[in-house]
Amino acid sequence: MTRQISILSGKGGAGKTSVTAALIKMMDAVVAVDADVNASNLPLLLTPERQTNNDYFGMDIASIADVKCTDCGACIAVCRFDAIARNASGRVEIASDCEGCATCAHVCPEQAITLVPRKGGEWYLSSIANGFLVHADLIPGEDNSGKLITKVRNQASAVAKEQQIPYIVIDGPPGTSCQAISSITGADLVLAVVEESLSGLSDYRRLAELVKKFSIPHFVLINKSGFNQEIMQQIEATANEFAGTIIGRIPFDQDIPRALQDLQALSDMDTYRPVIAEALATLLQSLED
């Protein structure tokens, strides 16, 4: 059975991708998922070879057949998203803010409105040195990346099953909203990468509250640490409160961004390989238990 580890942080820039890439590089066989589909950076560290390119369709959007439309405006009256308006010449038009609810199509007396597919991005299956990477690019500005995350995760599960690969590791998006939820659902455990800062602490608390709703165990890797003992203690207290287990600490060290500049992961650095190895061993052990 495939086990899934989801890596999140709440705060952006805490080190999710750096840690995820390092863990992945130290595993025997893995299906990696980049769930940060609107700022996808994991591929930069894993040198993937693309196997397939696939279109992703998000929510359908409304489309008006000009020949049928009598410009009666019934659709404008029911649209709660202000997505339909009259243009300068009085014709009814769909704007880009359409959320695809289809209410307009339901009320149109002429059946002039249909819901049509809209390309929201692309997803890819790639091979990496020790397995596969499923990743995606949302078209900038597009909606509903939660659905795209579900798509790449489902693909990852299919590949893992077919290839009999025991682990899926997910590089999650920042934040704690729908995209984070799509990255947590169905995971066996969550690794929170927490930056030692007031912002990192606050966002970790939000994430811990969210993870608690899913009743999934979580582990904590503290990053950019060593400057502020008080904040560190608050992170420890928060982890304690939400039953999170701290499995490692990485200091604020300019050598790390310098290595990343050359696309070297933490696992490529002699100083930090042991920290990552130990964290990985703890995570995999907890999946066995």
Binding site: L44, S177, I181, R206
Partner: protein, 275 residues
């Protein structure tokens, strides 16, 4: 005038720059990173008003509903589901579109307001400016809607700074749309640069005037490496300096603590504000 501070990559320094820009310009502040709002740790506002942000969601009249299930099939957001003889709502998925009410043959559905989050407003104890923070209810999918409601409160006649959400999805668009000027914060790394190119596509589609500030530069060659041959370059570069990091992590406002940050931001913004 509205200035939005955004970045595709998280942790590039949006909040760091946004609070400093608000300090330099004496601007009103809007934290639109509604599912991870952090500006308050820097601005330390004393909150004096909290308003609930609501959207309409369906309410079922159990006596009328015969559990035909039509609404659950019509809902495009999968927010309604049927178990045995009852229909249930997953409130966090509901967009409040009103379709279920229209399709229900029994007129069993009406709409009531439900909370998607709150907006807190107060006065910064550090800067004296007004601060507005959006807090999305944990688990809600309606972040972009909450951002839209916050944006409606902005008085375009005043000078305001928006601290946007990370990423390049619809939430970022909602924070960029109202801006007269966008400050695009970029971490001069392969990751930051990759995400910046996607944000630029949004800015160009919306026809926004923007300037780039590079943050966390290891040395001057970082910026050169990524921006060589480009017309649009950072107008100001902030190095990755232990002193800045130490101040920032504890909630200090960099432009207050470091005169070079203050003067650097003032120089690049003054021309834009005057015009």
């Amino acid at each position: 005038m509205i200035i939005s501070v955004v970045s595709g990559k998280g942790g590039a320094g949006k909040t760091t720059l946004a609070v400093s820009i608000a300090q330099v310009l004496g601007a009103e502040f809007y934290d639109l990173d509604v599912d991870a709002p952090n500006a308050e740790y820097f601005l330390q506002p004393e909150f004096d008003a909290t308003t609930a942000v609501t959207q309409p969601v369906p309410l079922f009249d159990e006596d009328r509903c015969d559990a035909c299930g039509l609404c659950t099939r019509e809902c495009r957001f999968h927010a309604l589901y049927k178990i045995l003889k009852s229909v249930y709502l997953t409130e966090t998925l509901c967009h409040g579109c009103g379709l279920c009410e229209l399709v229900c043959p029994q007129q069993a559905i009406s709409y009531q307001d439900a909370s998607v989050g709150t907006i807190r407003s107060g006065t910064s104890q550090r800067l004296g400016n007004r601060v507005h923070v959006g807090d999305l209810k944990i688990g809600s999918t309606r972040g972009t809607y909450l951002i839209g409601e916050l944006v409606k409160q902005i008085d375009p006649a005043k000078l305001s700074v928006i601290d946007g959400p990370p990423g390049n999805s619809c939430a970022a668009v909602a924070a960029i749309k109202p801006a007269d000027l966008v400050v695009l914060v970029v971490e001069p790394t392969p990751f930051g640069f990759h995400d910046m190119l996607q944000t630029e596509q949004i800015l160009q589609q919306l026809g926004k005037d923007y300037l780039i500030i590079a943050n966390k530069a290891l040395d001057s060659t970082d910026v050169e490496k990524h921006f060589t041959g480009r017309e649009k370059r950072p107008v100001f570069t902030i190095p990755l300096d232990d002193r800045y990091h130490r101040a920032n992590l504890a909630g200090d406002i960099l432009s207050l603590n470091f005169s070079e940050i203050h003067s650097g931001l003032k120089t690049v913004l003054d021309g834009k504000i005057a015009s």
